[in-house]
């Protein structure tokens, strides 16, 4: 059975809203049954702390995933910068080595935008990107990536080996960071806790109010307002799949550059 983040965003949002709707209906029916037994021990004053608990919990979770999304953006920016730096550093190599190095480097960048950007939406790695990175590393670990025997010493060439080495390992780090930060933080336990809190709040709300129209309006208000933090939580948990963050557009400038 696919998890929520593996479903299309529209379908996942529909399921989330459906779950809230189902909880609301269940809470309404249970509250009617509860109130018919004349157990009117529940007071409206309980609504405020319960609502606060729901809001604080979801807001805390939401701030966490937004923070993670921002970290992802920073990581991707850093990765793009590393691509540019490694591409520039390879400039000191003789022509054939340079063009082969750059070809492999930007093949990897291209595979990120066209393969991994898609697989990451399902929280998966791309085999094509893995292979492209391996080819680049193989090149960088071969004599092809070495300077000729008697190179002309320039500020760029003097530190070439150290920089090329640093940037190639930085690329590996950046990929792992990107994949880690983009993996969904949706946890069934979190969703269960949100569901339980919402049910409790809805049940209490329906229990302390009377009148058919009041209850209908209350149900509408609950369904309009309370799923919003949960929906935001879902979207920010996987910003790539939700379309909040476009990985391809981040890499576009380096792939559009004549180098």
């Amino acid at each position: 059975m696919p998890s929520l983040e593996q479903l299309p965003v529209g379908l996942a949002l529909f399921l989330i809203y459906s779950a809230f709707f189902a909880i609301t209906v269940a809470a309404l029916l249970l509250s009617r049954r509860f109130s018919s037994h004349k157990h009117s021990i529940l007071q409206p004053g309980l609504l405020s702390p319960l609502g606060s608990l729901y809001i604080f919990t979801t807001a805390f979770l939401l701030s966490n995933v937004i923070f993670q999304t921002n970290n992802l953006k920073t990581a991707v920016t850093q990765e793009v910068v590393t691509f540019s730096k490694l591409g520039a550093v390879l400039n000191v190599l003789p022509q054939q080595q340079r063009v082969e190095g750059r070809r492999l480097l930007f093949d990897y960048a291209y595979s990120i935008t066209h393969d991994e950007a898609t697989t990451m939406k399902q929280g998966l790695r791309s085999d094509a990107s893995e292979a492209a990175l391996d080819r680049l590393r193989e090149f960088l670990s071969s004599p092809s990536a070495a300077l000729p025997a008697a190179p002309i010493i320039t500020p760029e060439s003097s530190n070439y080996l150290r920089r090329a080495s640093d940037f190639s390992f930085d690329l590996i780090d950046a990929r792992e960071r990107r994949l880690s930060l983009s993996s969904s933080s949706n946890s069934p336990v979190l969703w269960l806790s949100i569901g339980v809190m919402y049910f409790t709040f809805a049940f209490l709300s329906f229990s302390v109010h009377r009148g058919a129209m009041t209850l209908i309006w209350l149900a509408f208000i609950l369904l309009f307002a309370f799923p919003v933090p949960a929906v935001m939580l879902f979207l920010y948990s996987n910003p790539l799949a939700a379309g909040l963050y476009d990985l391809t557009s981040q890499f576009a400038p380096i792939l559009a550059r004549n180098m």
Binding site: Q95, Q96, R98, V99, F106, Y110, S144, L255, R257, M259
Partner: protein, 384 residues
């Protein structure tokens, strides 16, 4: 006595004074304020961008020198005739340039077959052809005294490609070549380069000039399972081949020669097939302004059209025009075709804005500069 002397001297004096002007009047294409140059190339049809981009680059150079007052006070005026990359039309154009337009020199002919078909007319009337856009051996070896090359030969491009491919483990090389003088030259070059390492192409297929009928060639090449495919045709044919070839679920490295028209090839390819296509080049990288000629080219383009896009073909046009301007300048204020050719022969090993080339009576190889580039991403950018 004096009266008689004056009557006798007057015509002689007039002749002496008018002699240079009469000489210019007799030299085709040279006017008191103009120098007429002819260019036949593809400006329409499936290879149109080959001629258009080269002409655009040449225009920038000619416009600049004309704006500064021309060469020795003469404006360079270029007449263009479209040959659609067809040899017969190129031959007819050449005859018109010489007989009807009375051009001083010919410039920037695009294509091997088109240049070859124009050779008889050039040789009959002794008209020089400067910087043709072909790297074929047929106009280099033996030396044709009327042809002055700027670009490197196809054989040099192929030698670099083969060296690169073998170096990085792509041993099985196939070739798809145009069924004409251009294709034959490229095939010869590939056989020569592979022969040096005792190898042969794994497949050799032909395509027709200006044709996009490449399905059969793609199928046959795919059956031979090459590591790399060298394409020797213009952009429309090559783009068609690449599209058909990739449909067969193949991933061999594709290489094109400089003649393909790099920017035009990029535009002709579907977006998803652009990345990683290789093109050998015979001019510097148009985006690398460290070389003075490239910097001048970029400035000239931006002054004329801020939205203009740099490219290899237009840079070649700009450099070819600079070579012609340099030779015209050195031919002096009273240029003749002989003086122009003498000036070009005396350039020997020279450079245009840092781009080295050589030309002399015994050597018309032009430049030896070749480099490899790859299309990067889908935006039509290049790596070098």
């Amino acid at each position: 006595m004096v009266h008689i002397s004056r009557r006798l001297l007057a015509p002689w004096m007039a002749c002496l004074l008018l002699a240079p002007r009469l000489a210019h009047a007799l030299e085709p294409g040279i006017g008191p304020r103009s120098i007429l140059i002819g260019q036949s190339a593809a400006f329409t049809g499936s290879s149109a961008d080959l001629g258009r981009e080269f002409r655009q680059g040449a225009h920038y150079a000619f416009n600049e020198v004309n704006a500064r007052g021309g060469v020795h006070g003469r404006q360079i005026i270029t007449i263009y005739r479209d040959d659609g990359y067809e040899p017969k039309r190129a031959e007819a154009n050449t005859n018109k340039f010489i007989a009807k337009d009375q051009v001083f020199a010919l410039f920037g002919y695009v294509g091997t077959a088109t240049v070859v078909s124009s050779l008889p007319a050039l040789e009959r009337f002794g008209v020089p052809l400067i910087a043709p856009v072909t790297g074929a051996q047929i106009i280099r070896n033996p030396v044709n005294p009327l042809i002055y090359n700027l670009r490197s030969s196809y054989h040099r491009e192929i030698a670099l490609l083969v060296d690169y491919l073998l170096r990085y483990g792509r041993d099985a090389i196939a070739i798809v070549y145009q069924d004409d003088a251009f294709g034959d030259d490229v095939l010869t070059g590939l056989l020569k380069s592979l022969g040096q390492v005792t190898r042969r192409p794994v497949a050799m297929e032909t395509v027709q000039r200006n044709s996009t009928n490449t399905e059969e060639a793609a199928r046959r090449v795919a059956r031979s399972k090459p590591d790399a495919v060298l394409l020797a045709s213009s952009y429309a044919t090559n783009a068609s081949f690449i599209t058909n070839y990739r449909k067969l679920d193949t991933n061999a490295q594709i290489f094109n020669l400089s003649f393909v028209g790099s920017n035009a090839l990029s535009r002709a390819l579907p977006l998803h097939l652009r990345h990683g296509i290789g093109v050998s080049q015979v001019v510097p990288f148009p985006w690398d302004a460290r070389l003075p000629i490239v910097r001048d080219y970029q400035l000239a383009m931006k002054r004329s059209d801020p939205d203009a896009k740099f490219g290899f073909s237009s840079l070649e046009g700009y450099m070819a025009a600079q070579l012609l301007i340099k030779a015209l300048d050195q031919a002096g204020p009273n240029p003749t075709r002989q003086r122009l050719m003498r000036a070009l022969d005396h350039l020997q090993t020279s450079d245009i804005g840092g781009f080295p080339f050589s030309t002399s009576l015994s050597n018309r190889s032009g430049s030896s500069f070749v480099q490899l580039t790859f299309l990067n991403g889908q935006a039509g950018s290049f790596l070098h």
